[in-house]
């Protein structure tokens, strides 16, 4: 381990670290533009110059490996002058239009000019102007502001895996672009906006809608998929103005998908902001008392055996806890949080979570995908798989749809037949998996939400067990969810009780009049036609399929509007506070259920959010450890049985249109139109 002196202070760092990293370790800040921890080193901006003893000129610290005995100084007049000079050069062609630039107030160039730059410009000639590029509906460009750090190019090439951006031309005429104008075909493109140190790449939907310093920041959890990406929600008044990623090495590192980032305009449209009751065939505005009264009256009349509840993809764990408790108190065992009918095993947690953890992917060497397209189902899990692929020596096999995952995947077959062969050990890949050091498999919902789902799950378990995926210190068995609500619902037991009906049973019962009332907690993706004549209560935030069918609408809060917990696909509970208030008369969801229980005369035993959470901890102790993954014990799950013949399909056929918020978002509609209907990027989902 090299030991070096930085500004007179001795420090020992890990071998392979750069001088810049060593300086950071020594607590010395080094200004930089092109260097970024997660990207390859480019060394082209020269902002990180420092002095090294015996070197004739300042060195670029980001590209210089730290070596034993180096003597580095960052506080000399020479370094100051070098920084001054670099900034002066960078500003020669920079338009200095900060007052009208969205990056203003959070711009690296602005900040570093303040810290290290000169107070005036000596440049009197004309500045160069660069034509803006059209990178699609998400990323706006002001290429005259570009300082050619190439972070965006490196991000596209390395992290996103779409080699579409490059440097064109040379010298004074160099530009960043795609040459042939086209929208970036990546579901991670928004991250370039964060990486761009200046205002060259900005958010198109956010353009000119707010200034960064007038926004209130709240740390949130994304609920568009089951990754549970850590986000920052920036709001002004009651409106979410933008969504940004928050660092969490274990989950999303510092990226989020374009859906998580840009679907927020859907939060403003098509909202349920007051209760409705259907009268004479039409939904009419009502008061809370009227709406809750109507629901309670029906429930009382029908009794527990004839009422049922289904929770949707974005429901928070608190509301599922409360609704589950209420239904059980009323004597109804008919509960299900698996609106897609996936054969997730009740009670065997290891059978429905991503046991390896997302970060754990980096330790795997072989991966078998079963009926999943991680790129569309969980873009950041896919980014982690790609990261692992870039590390070298990673083999990915797939049974399921054709995939374009941005890294090579060997497709073995389309459906259960191949899976059966692997499970029986007769397929050649079984050998490869057995020979691997850290093998893993990922089962998607596309493989489980089908009539033979339980048998598929059993086959997957058999593969895991026979291929050494489950052992001390490593569990390579993974279920990849697409819904933020799913694992939480399973954890708090929002599943059929003794003699209870599952989703298919509930729909069947409602259609056949065995059930008189179905309570949809944000469930929009079921086939409403199957509900027959049942009285439908919809509690949720958007006027989507569920609300259209409902007889009573109880307006709830979207994920940005409530203090709530979601459990991600790894089984990691994460709680987040509300960033804004729900619109109009809408309320936090657990409180709506609590109010209903009052109206029913069966008050739930909790009066505050804290008490609901205590209840959750009593049901599942891991809720006490928010943000952490509690390893699940390996137990039998799945039901050995005959595998069907139909090929596996991914449940996500349109990445940009997976829930009610997306469906209300104009930005997502534009992306869907461009990327999915255009057929270009859709190749991965037509299995």
């Amino acid at each position: 381990m090299p030991s070096l002196t930085i500004n007179g202070k001795q420090i020992t760092v890990d071998a392979g670290m750069t001088v810049l990293q060593a300086c950071e370790a020594a607590g010395v800040e080094i200004p930089r533009f092109c260097y970024h921890d997660r990207l390859q080193i480019a060394g082209n901006c020269r902002m990180c110059l420092v002095e090294m003893e015996k070197a004739p000129k300042p060195i670029a610290s980001c590209a210089m490996p730290a070596a034993d005995g180096m003597v580095i100084r960052t506080d000399t007049p020479r370094v100051t002058k070098a920084r001054n000079g670099v900034l002066e050069f960078l500003l020669i062609n920079h338009p200095l239009d900060c007052p009208i630039c969205d990056q203003g107030g959070e711009c690296d160039l602005q900040d570093q000019t303040l810290g290290y730059g000169m107070d005036h410009s000596r440049y009197e000639e004309n500045k160069r102007a660069v034509v803006d590029k059209d990178l699609g509906p998400l990323v706006s460009t002001h290429m005259t502001r570009c300082i050619h750090c190439t972070r965006c190019i490196r991000f596209a090439t390395e992290i996103a895996g779409v080699e579409e951006l490059g440097t064109l031309g040379r010298g004074e005429h160099m530009e960043i672009g795609t040459y042939v104008e086209k929208a970036l075909s990546s579901e991670l493109s928004g991250n370039m906006i964060d990486l761009c140190p200046v205002g060259a790449l900005n958010s198109k939907p956010y353009a000119y809608t707010a200034r960064s310093w007038e926004l209130i920041r709240t740390e949130g959890i994304d609920a568009h998929d089951a990754v549970g990406a850590n986000i920052r929600i920036d709001a002004r008044g009651r409106e979410v103005m933008r969504v940004l990623p928050r660092l969490n090495e274990d989950v999303n590192e510092e990226w989020i998908s374009d859906k998580s980032r840009f679907a927020y305009d859907g939060l403003r449209r098509n909202r349920l902001d007051q209760p409705y009751v259907r009268r004479n065939g039409r939904l009419e505005p009502a008061t809370w008392a009227e709406a809750l009264g109507a629901v309670a009256e029906r429930m009382r009349a029908l009794g527990g055996a004839r009422i049922a509840a289904i929770a949707g993809d974005m429901a928070c764990t608190e509301s599922m806890t409360a609704l589950g408790d209420l239904f059980r108190a009323l004597g109804s065992p008919h509960l299900d949080c698996r609106q897609d009918g996936a054969a997730l095993p009740v009670g065997a947690r290891a059978g429905y979570v991503f046991n390896s953890t997302i970060a754990g992917i980096e330790g795997a060497d072989t991966c078998l995908l079963i009926g999943t397209n991680p790129r569309w189902e969980a873009a950041l899990v896919n980014a982690r798989l790609r990261k692992r692929y870039l590390g070298g020596g990673f083999h990915v096999f797939s049974v399921g749809p054709e995939l374009d995952l941005t890294f090579p995947v060997e497709r073995l077959g389309a459906g259960p037949e191949t899976l059966g062969e692997i499970a029986a050990g007769t397929h050649r890949v079984a050998k490869a998996l057995q020979g691997a050091k850290q093998p893993m498999l990922i089962v998607g919902q596309g493989a489980l939400a089908r009539p033979d789902g339980a048998a598929v799950l059993a086959a997957a378990r058999r593969i895991a067990e026979t291929c050494g995926m489950v052992r001390d210190g490593w569990n390579g068995f993974n279920v990849l969810h697409t819904a933020a609500a799913r694992v939480g619902g399973m954890d708090v037991g929002f599943v059929p009780g003794q003699g209870g009906r599952d989703t298919a049973g509930i729909l069947h019962g409602a259609g056949g009049r065995d059930l008189g009332l179905v309570y949809l907690l944000g469930a929009d993706e079921i086939d409403m036609a199957q509900l027959g004549q049942a009285f439908v209560v919809y509690q949720g935030h958007h006027g989507d399929a569920g609300a259209n069918r409902a007889d009573v609408v109880l307006p709830g809060a979207a994920y940005t509007e409530k203090s709530a917990t979601w459990v991600n696909t790894e089984g990691r509970p994460q709680a987040a506070p509300a960033a804004v208030a729900p619109p109009g008369d809408a309320r936090e969801d657990w409180a709506i259920v609590r109010a209903l229980s009052d109206t029913l005369g069966k008050p739930l035993p909790y009066d505050s959010l804290a008490q609901v959470r205590e209840r959750m901890v009593r049901i599942a102790p891991w809720f006490a450890r928010s943000g952490e993954v509690t390893p699940a014990a390996w137990a039998p799950f799945g039901t050995e049985g005959k595998l069907g013949a139909a090929p596996f399909r991914s449940p996500v056929t349109d990445f940009y249109m997976t829930n009610a918020i997306c469906r209300a978002s104009a930005t997502m509609a534009e992306c869907s139109e461009l990327y999915m209907s255009g057929g270009k990027a859709a190749t991965g989902t037509h299995g």
Binding site: V130, G166, G169, V180
Partner: protein, 203 residues
């Protein structure tokens, strides 16, 4: 002109493919590179494509070469836009490239360029109506010792002045270009006015 975007030029063909003969040549070029480094053959292949396509590279040719070497297309666009020797717009049969960098300029490149303009009736960056000539201004051609220099096709014409430039252009138009190299009485880059060294016999 912005180098940052593709130009759809007149005569831009939607497809491009090497001729059978050029496929053989291309494979021979690729084979010169060590295993795993075949993509380094990019420059010679672009040159081959440009020669086949009448001196310029339409986007289809860039894409073809990218696919030939299994390179991402943007990587080829980067290279093709970086080197000024690759023409991304159609050029005339004779691409007259006049060096105007300092040594050539000191030795009269202004007159050479002016002679081209006047004689061809076009400005820099333009092509004559008959498609015979395109006139370009270029940076140092690394033959300063014989300045001023003009580059046409595969040949350098050196030690030019206005009169010899006109002669050169006429010769090209007639299909009988003068001999490449110095256009004055001078052997390659030896002193123009007689030998200065090794003058004594028997040394």
């Amino acid at each position: 002109m912005s180098a940052g975007r593709a130009v759809a030029a007149a005569g831009d063909s939607a497809t491009f493919a090497f001729t059978a003969e050029n496929v053989t040549k291309a494979n021979a070029i690729v084979a010169k590179y060590p295993q795993g480094k075949q993509q380094s053959a990019l420059l010679p292949l672009l040159d081959l494509a440009q020669r086949q396509n009448g001196g310029w590279l339409p986007q289809a040719a860039l894409d073809y070469v990218a696919d030939f070497l299994t390179l991402a297309r943007i990587r080829v666009y980067e290279v093709a836009t970086f080197y000024t020797m690759f023409n991304l717009k159609p050029v005339g049969q004779h691409h007259v490239q006049v060096c105007t960098t300092t040594p050539c300029w000191l030795r009269g490149s202004d007159q050479v360029l002016e002679a081209c303009r006047h004689h061809l009736g076009i400005g820099v960056g333009e092509t004559t109506a008959d498609g015979k000539f395109t006139l370009s201004e270029v940076e140092c051609l690394a033959a300063c010792v014989n300045a001023p220099v003009v580059w046409v096709g595969d040949d350098y014409y050196e030690d030019l002045d206005a009169a010899s430039t006109v002669k050169l252009l006429d010769g090209l138009a007639a299909g009988k270009p003068p001999k490449a190299g110095p256009q004055v009485k001078r052997q390659t880059s030896a002193p123009a006015n007689g030998a200065k060294t090794l003058v004594r016999k028997g040394v």
